[in-house]
Each structure stands twice: as structure tokens, then as C-alpha cells.
């Protein structure tokens, strides 16, 4: 691997300049030890093409900013070593999301919309009383909530999903996982029927075709397959009018 010369083919398009058609541009770079796509793209921008647009924030697989299509697969660029790829590296922006330019897409608007649609906050009638001790919670439950909350909104599951690519309003695996996050949270007072309103439709759990591209692509290795099945099962049973005894029983997996 030492001394490889890498060839990057990068998608270029600036929506502010629609007269210039989308095109692929080639850059060459000498590979260094431990080089990631993050390191490479920054080198290209600093040394070869300062106009190249792409997003990184944490560069540590924590913030979800840098997902792109790398040799055909949606991945976090900061966590992808060039060493794991052939000499030729093709980079495209994520589909589904609105293109800002080159490799940069607007995941922020999409995910805020998702939060609004799924009402991604704890629905509770309790208010904070500063004089009181916190309410108790079982540590196991706390960890379970955290497991479902680990999604970093990178969009890899959405980009790789056939349904999301054809249906604008589809919540995708990230959205369905989000709903599961609140379903397992005993602090959330929503009833199963209220959840049904959110995900019991073609835009939600029933739009999913179960091909599991999402599960394969999730860089956080969230058990999306399990979450989808769990939510779908719940929705189906509510849809069929089966009364839920108590939402506390809705543990994931």
C-alpha cells in the first residue's frame, strides 16, 4: 500500500450555477499512512481546488455530517480509510437530500422535518420542580433508550433505501428508529394509538419494503432491522384493533 497514487473522481455541481452541468472531476493524490477520506478531501481542497464543497464537523464519526457515496456505498467519509479502497475512488453526494453543492447535501432540513413529523420530544404532563429529587429510572431502561438514541442523523440509511428514493415523505429507518426511541421511554405518555397516527402509514412503517439496505449501511450499527420489525408489528396490531395493555411492555427486542 505504500506509495500508492490515488485517483479521486468527484461529483461536481453548484446549484447556483445551473448553466454548468454536473460533471465528474479527477484529482490525484499520494496516499499517506492512516489517510482517511477526510484527510484526502482537505488536502485536495487546500492544494488543488479550493472551491470543492463537502462537510465535516467532528471528523470522528460522532456528528453525522460527512456521509457520502463512496465507491457506490453510503458511508461516513471521516471513518473511511483510503487503505480500505482500491486506487480509484469515486465520490458522490447522498441522494434523497437536497444538494447544496458538490458533495454537500442538506441533511439538517430533512432531519428537522423528521423530528417535527414524529414529534421527537418526550410528551409529558410533568413539569420540572427544582425542589424535588429526580424521578427514578431503572438503569436497564436508561441504557435501552440510549441504544435507540444513538442515531447520528447521517442519512446513510435514507440514501440507501429504495422507498426513500421514490417516496419524498417516507420517514425511513432513521424515522422509524426515532419513534422506537420514544416508545421505549417510560417518560413519554403517548399511547400506542397516538404513535399509530405518526408511523402507521405508507410514509411510515408500512412503506418499508424490508430489503434492509438501511441496516447494512448504518455506521452506528443500530439494529434497524429489529426496530423496523418491532414498530411494524406494533402498528399492525394496533391497526387490527388489538388493544395494548400497557406501553411499558413495548421493550425493543
Amino acid at each position: 500500500m505504500a506509495d500508492r497514487e490515488l485517483t479521486f473522481e468527484i461529483f461536481r455541481y453548484n446549484p447556483a450555477k445551473p448553466e454548468i452541468k454536473p460533471q465528474m472531476q479527477t484529482y490525484k493524490l499520494k496516499e499517506t499512512t492512516g489517510m482517511t477520506i477526510f484527510v484526502a478531501l482537505n488536502m485536495i481542497r487546500e492544494e488543488q481546488d479550493p472551491s470543492l464543497m463537502f462537510d465535516f464537523v467532528c471528523r470522528a464519526a460522532i456528528c453525522g455530517s460527512c456521509a457520502m457515496i463512496i465507491n457506490g456505498r453510503p458511508k461516513l467519509a471521516c471513518k473511511t480509510l483510503t487503505r480500505s479502497l482500491p486506487k480509484k475512488i469515486k465520490l458522490f453526494p447522498l441522494p434523497v437530500f437536497k444538494l447544496i453543492g458538490d458533495l454537500s447535501v442538506d441533511t439538517g432540513t430533512w432531519f428537522r422535518n423528521l423530528s417535527l413529523k414524529t414529534e421527537s420530544w418526550v410528551h409529558t404532563s410533568k413539569t420540572f420542580d427544582p425542589t424535588k429529587q429526580e424521578e427514578r429510572m431503572d438503569n436497564k431502561t436508561a441504557l435501552e433508550i440510549y441504544e435507540a438514541e444513538r442515531c447520528i442523523e447521517c442519512g446513510c440509511c435514507i440514501a440507501g433505501c429504495a422507498t426513500a428514493n421514490i417516496r419524498d415523505e417516507f420517514l425511513g429507518a432513521a424515522g422509524i428508529n426515532r419513534v422506537a426511541r420514544f416508545m421505549v421511554d417510560p417518560r413519554d405518555e403517548r399511547t400506542p394509538e397516538q404513535y399509530f397516527e405518526v408511523v402507521g402509514c405508507e410514509e411510515g412503517a408500512f412503506g418499508c419494503m424490508g430489503l434492509m439496505a438501511c441496516d447494512d449501511n448504518c455506521p452506528m450499527e443500530l439494529p434497524l432491522q429489529m426496530q423496523l420489525a418491532f414498530v411494524r408489528r406494533k402498528m399492525a396490531s394496533i391497526g387490527l384493533g388489538v388493544k395494548q395493555e400497557s406501553k411499558v411492555k413495548m421493550g425493543v427486542g
Partner: protein, 607 residues
């Protein structure tokens, strides 16, 4: 006249990390119209990256028993090396437990006390009490007398930021992400808002507000090696400094962490050394015992960092395209131990540096980690120098941390300050009126338009923004690092002055159209170099060692002359900041021995 979109709001918050969002929630819940600006979607803010935890003296877990706000106060003041504002520290420690509990109601899945016995890695056995089961627990962090750091697994920052943002979404607070404030609009007395650049289109916009709050986070990225997110460039600080009348406090106080991984500078926690990892040089020689025979690799954070730098300066570093570094060796711990107890470290090494620590060495170097300095405010969070301007979080020098921050006190600061300062902002805004002159705003926008034109056309010169940036980073890293001396600092100041003049002559290579990233960087560059000079010059003038500021030529803390805070101003036309000083007020705890150097503080845990 210029054509631009104008947004008018009661409270304008620049920065949507934890501090900014908490203030937004407070202001909105008191009926104000609030607008948040952020470079990135709020959930991508740097706060999300914090893993370790947030300090609050709940005293629920066994090792936290007997903890209270007084103990937290003493730890914080000692940690600050008596550089902090004790009135602020007092408010902070009283509010932190409420902040943690409130976040629990809002949705943070804090880890909880599990009753029963547990064996610690060092062999001690502790027993968690049955009656505490289910309450919020805490973990051990450096520099604290009790276990006080509340956490959610390894994702504390993530869960806090997602929960906070869920409140922002729920309340329907306006967020303009991918929007960068590039200057403050003010008349020399009052701040009336900002000029911003849309990072989607490149257009300029105007935001007018009764109250403006700077919550833009730290300036880690001024250094070439930093554990910070790449957007932490000190924006809010230099935007304030550029007014010429708002001072920055204690910019020379910069915290370093010994083991950032090369070349991506992701933090490798002290756990690796705690479990028996060694540091090696280019000859695979274990050098720490030569410098610190007793504590070796486990000396305190700042001591290890200093020794590593010293050793590299003596020519023992490993050369790499990313500069010299050292090795962290954990191979002898064995695959079993590495893949279980140190799994996170092993994954980071594999994913980001492509090394397998079971058989390979991990490249590491001391790395910038936290900025204690920032926009100087009073205890209400109001900035010095301009009315209607506030600041909070890492961007501010409120001054809770003085010359050294304790792990876990920063997340706690963001939310606690958000609560306390948020209330003050809301109160202030109730009585404030929106009044500004059209000309003032128009002039402010024109000034930015002209800067952009000059950069795009290269009217002032053809300096490369990335070269200027690299020079700045290198000078800070090489001469204003972990340990400092008069000679190096003078070199840094001289070099940075030259870099400063180059920064005024930047010309773009690309055309600057649309959301052009080179232009975004160029617009920040002069401000960033000004911050670098505030750091270097402040450090040169401070002839003592205090907290993270360690002068080889003045190794002792000097309370007689230096129990004071640096205020850095940037007068118009200057190429060096003007430094003034104000005394540090001591209200409760008189200066004493910090008890550092041995094991007591800073040497364990935390991030």
C-alpha cells in the same frame, strides 16, 4: 443600496450548541421571539462530541456520597488555580444539579444507580445502596474529590444536545442553520444584531435583535492539532474582538491533552495509560520514566503533555507528513484486554488511523483540547464594552474555569450558564427596545460586501488563505503550546504579526461564487490571526505559571502580581492586541495550594 434579506427578532443567538440552545429555550419560554444561527444543523454542534459527562453534585452514587455544592465549589476553584470568578463558581455549583435533573425530565437517559457490590479496575470494592437505586449516578473524572460526573454511557454530549434540540423543535424556535455571523452591527454603545452569510447560497443577510448572544464555542482549530470539531475556529470571539471595544478574557489559558491521535487528532483517553500503556519515541525507547521516575506515563495531564513536547523538541519524535509524533504502545496488554476493556480506543485506532493496537503502535501527540478564554462577560453573561450583547458557553469567559477547566465542568457550564444567563437575557430583553438606524445597518453590510469583493478580486494581494492558516497554526503549536517561555513566545508574536499582515492581503484562487468554502475561510482568517495574537501576546506578558499556562522561565504561580484576568482589546489599525487587566475577585476561598503534581488532580479519567 444593497439588497439583502433582513430578519428581525427579540433575541438573536449566534450558535446552537448546548449553551445557545439552552438560552433559546429560556428566552422563548418567557415569551420572546428567538432566532438561532448555526454553521451546521444544531445536532452537529461540537457539544455532541463530548462523551465523558457533566458534573453536578447529586451525591447519589457510593463514591459520590457526601458530595455537595461546597465540595464542587472547592474543586472548581482549585482546578482554576484561583483564576476563576468565585461568585460565578458559586452560582454554577448551586445550579448544576438542577440542570441535570431538568435534562432528565426533558428526556436525557442518564445512567442510574444500580444497587449492589461492584469491583473497580484498581481492585477496590464499592457498594451502591438499595435506597439510591434508580437515581442518577456519576463516574470518576480527574480533579474532583467525589465522583460527580453524570453521564449517559459514552454519549453524554449526544444525548444532551439531542434532548435540548428536541425542546427547540417542540417550541418551534426559529433556527437558521448553515448561516454564519461574520460581523456585529453596533454603534459603539449598543449591539443591534449581526451581518451573516448564508452558507447555502453565499448571500449576505442582516439579523436585527434587541439582544444578541454569542454562543459559538471554542477556538481549538487555531492550533494545527486539536481534539475539537473542525468548525471550532473561535468565530464568535473574533467577531466580538473586531468591534474594537469588546475585550476577550484570559485568551492565553489553553488546555492540552497528551494523547490526540495523529493525524486526525481524535482523543485517546487516559484510560489507555491508566491500564498500563507506555509512550515510546522514534527509537521505541520508553522515555517517561527518565522525566518522571515516580508517576511515569501517569503523571498529570499537563505534565505528560509537557514532557512529550520536550522530548520531541529534543529530536526524538517520529517524523511523519503530519509533523513529529510519539507512539502509544498497548500491545503488551494483549488482544483479550484490548478488545474488551479498551474496545473504544481500539476501534478509534482501527477506524481512523488504520492501526490495530493489538499488533501496531498508535501515533499520538499532545493536542489542544479546550479554550478557557473568550468574550469577557460579567456574572450575568453581559459582554464588556457593548450593551445588548451577551455571551455564554465555551465562547465566553464568564469566568468559571479560570486557568484550567476540570473535565465535566464544561458541559455543566453550557447548560447551567444557559439557565442563569438565559434568565438574564430574557429579563433584559423585556425592557429593551428595538431601535437602530438604517444607515448603521447599511454601512455594516457594505463593509462586508467590500471585504468580499476585495478577496474575490485579490485587490489587496494574492496570499493563499490556506498558507496563512497553516503558518498561524504552526506558530501557535510550536511556540505557544503546552509549555512556554519568553523567547518562544516572542518568536510567536513576531511571526504572528507577520502572518497577520499577510492575512490582510489574502486573495482567492477560486471565484468565490455561491457557498464557496474558500471565501468562508478567507472571511475568517484575519479574525483568527487576531485571536492567535491575543493568545500569544497574553502568554508572553503573563510572567508566571497558573493552571494550564506553564512558563518554564517563570515556573511559579505569582499571586502578588498576577491574581488578575487578562483583557485583550483590538484597537482599530493595530497589529497587536492591547492588554488590560482586572483583579480576580476572591469571595470565599483564598488562594492556596492546588495539590497538583501528585495524583490528586487531573491525572485520571475524563476527556
Amino acid at each position: 443600496m444593497s439588497i439583502y434579506q433582513t430578519h428581525i427578532t427579540d433575541v438573536l443567538i449566534v450558535g446552537a450548541g448546548l449553551a445557545g440552545e439552552r438560552i433559546a429555550v429560556e428566552s422563548a419560554s418567557q415569551g420572546h421571539d428567538v432566532t438561532l444561527l448555526s454553521l451546521v444543523p444544531p445536532r452537529r454542534s461540537h457539544s455532541t462530541a463530548a462523551q465523558g459527562g457533566m458534573q453536578a453534585s447529586l451525591g447519589n452514587c457510593a463514591m459520590g456520597e457526601g458530595d455537595n455544592s461546597d465540595v464542587h465549589f472547592a474543586d472548581t476553584v482549585k482546578g482554576s488555580d484561583w483564576g476563576c470568578d468565585q461568585e460565578v463558581a458559586r452560582m454554577f455549583v448551586e445550579t448544576a444539579p438542577l440542570a441535570v435533573r431538568e435534562m432528565a425530565i426533558w428526556g436525557v437517559p442518564w445512567n442510574r444507580v444500580v444497587a449492589g457490590q461492584r469491583k473497580l479496575p484498581d481492585g477496590r470494592v464499592i457498594e451502591e445502596k438499595k435506597e439510591k437505586e434508580g437515581l442518577i449516578t456519576a463516574r470518576d473524572f480527574g480533579g474532583t474529590a467525589k465522583w460527580r460526573t453524570c453521564y449517559t454511557a459514552d454519549g453524554t454530549g449526544h444525548t444532551l444536545q439531542y434532548t435540548m434540540d428536541s425542546m427547540v423543535v417542540k417550541m418551534g424556535i426559529t433556527v437558521h442553520d448553515r448561516t454564519e455571523a461574520i460581523s456585529l452591527i453596533h454603534d459603539g454603545e449598543r449591539c443591534v444584531g449581526v451581518v451573516a452569510r448564508c452558507l447555502r447560497t453565499g448571500d449576505l443577510r442582516v439579523y436585527i435583535a434587541k439582544t444578541t448572544v454569542i454562543c459559538t464555542g471554542g477556538y481549538g482549530r487555531l492550533y494545527s492539532a486539536s481534539t475539537n470539531a473542525v468548525i471550532n475556529e473561535g468565530n464568535g470571539m473574533f467577531v466580538a474582538l473586531n468591534t474594537g471595544i469588546v475585550p476577550l478574557g484570559n485568551m492565553e489559558a489553553v488546555q492540552f491533552h497528551p494523547t490526540g491521535m495523529v493525524p486526525v487528532w481524535i482523543l485517546i483517553t487516559e484510560g489507555a495509560r491508566g491500564d498500563g500503556g507506555y509512550l515510546l519515541d522514534k527509537n521505541l525507547y520508553r522515555f517517561m520514566p527518565d522525566y518522571e521516575p515516580k508517576k511515569k506515563e501517569l503523571a498529570s495531564r499537563d505534565v505528560v503533555s509537557r514532557r512529550m513536547t520536550q522530548h520531541m523538541r529534543a529530536g526524538h519524535g517520529v517524523d511523519s507528513p503530519y509533523g513529529p509524533h510519539l507512539w502509544l504502545d498497548i500491545r503488551h496488554l494483549g488482544a483479550q484486554h484490548i478488545n474488551t476493556n479498551l474496545r473504544e480506543i481500539a476501534n478509534i485506532a482501527r477506524n481512523f488511523a488504520g492501526v490495530d493496537p493489538v499488533k501496531d503502535l498508535i501515533p499520538v501527540r499532545p493536542t489542544q483540547h479546550y479554550s478557557m478564554g473568550g468574550v469577557r462577560t460579567n456574572k450575568d453573561g453581559a459582554a464588556y464594552g457593548l450593551k445588548n450583547l451577551f455571551a455564554a458557553g465555551e465562547a465566553a469567559c464568564w469566568d468559571l474555569h479560570g486557568f484550567n477547566r476540570l473535565g465535566g465542568n464544561s458541559l455543566a457550564e453550557t447548560i447551567t450558564a444557559g439557565q442563569i444567563i438565559g434568565k438574564k437575557v430574557a429579563e433584559f430583553t423585556k425592557d429593551a427596545t428595538l431601535s437602530y438606524s438604517y444607515k448603521l445597518v447599511d454601512d455594516a453590510v457594505k463593509e462586508q460586501e467590500n471585504r468580499i469583493k476585495a478577496l474575490v478580486h485579490g485587490w489587496n494581494g494574492k496570499e493563499s488563505v490556506y498558507e496563512v492558516r497553516n503558518e498561524m497554526e504552526k506558530n501557535l503549536m510550536d511556540y505557544v503550546g503546552i509549555f512556554r517561555n519568553g523567547k518562544d513566545l516572542q518568536t510567536a508574536v513576531n511571526n504572528l504579526q507577520e502572518v497577520y499582515h499577510r492575512s490582510l492581503k489574502i486573495g482567492l484562487k477560486s471565484n468565490g461564487e455561491g457557498p464557496n468554502p474558500e471565501l468562508a475561510q478567507a472571511l475568517r482568517m484575519t479574525g483568527m490571526v487576531r485571536l492567535a495574537l491575543c493568545i500569544a501576546y497574553g502568554a508572553l506578558m503573563r510572567t508566571e505559571s497558573r493552571g494550564s499556562h506553564a512558563r518554564e522561565d517563570y515556573p511559579k504561580r505569582d499571586d502578588t502580581n498576577w491574581l488578575k484576568r487578562t483583557l485583550a482589546y483590538w484597537p482599530e489599525g493595530a497589529d497587536l492586541p492591547e492588554l488590560k487587566y482586572e483583579p480576580v475577585k476572591i469571595t470565599e476561598l483564598p488562594p492556596g495550594d492546588r495539590g497538583y503534581g501528585e495524583s490528586s488532580a487531573q491525572s485520571k479519567g475524563g476527556k
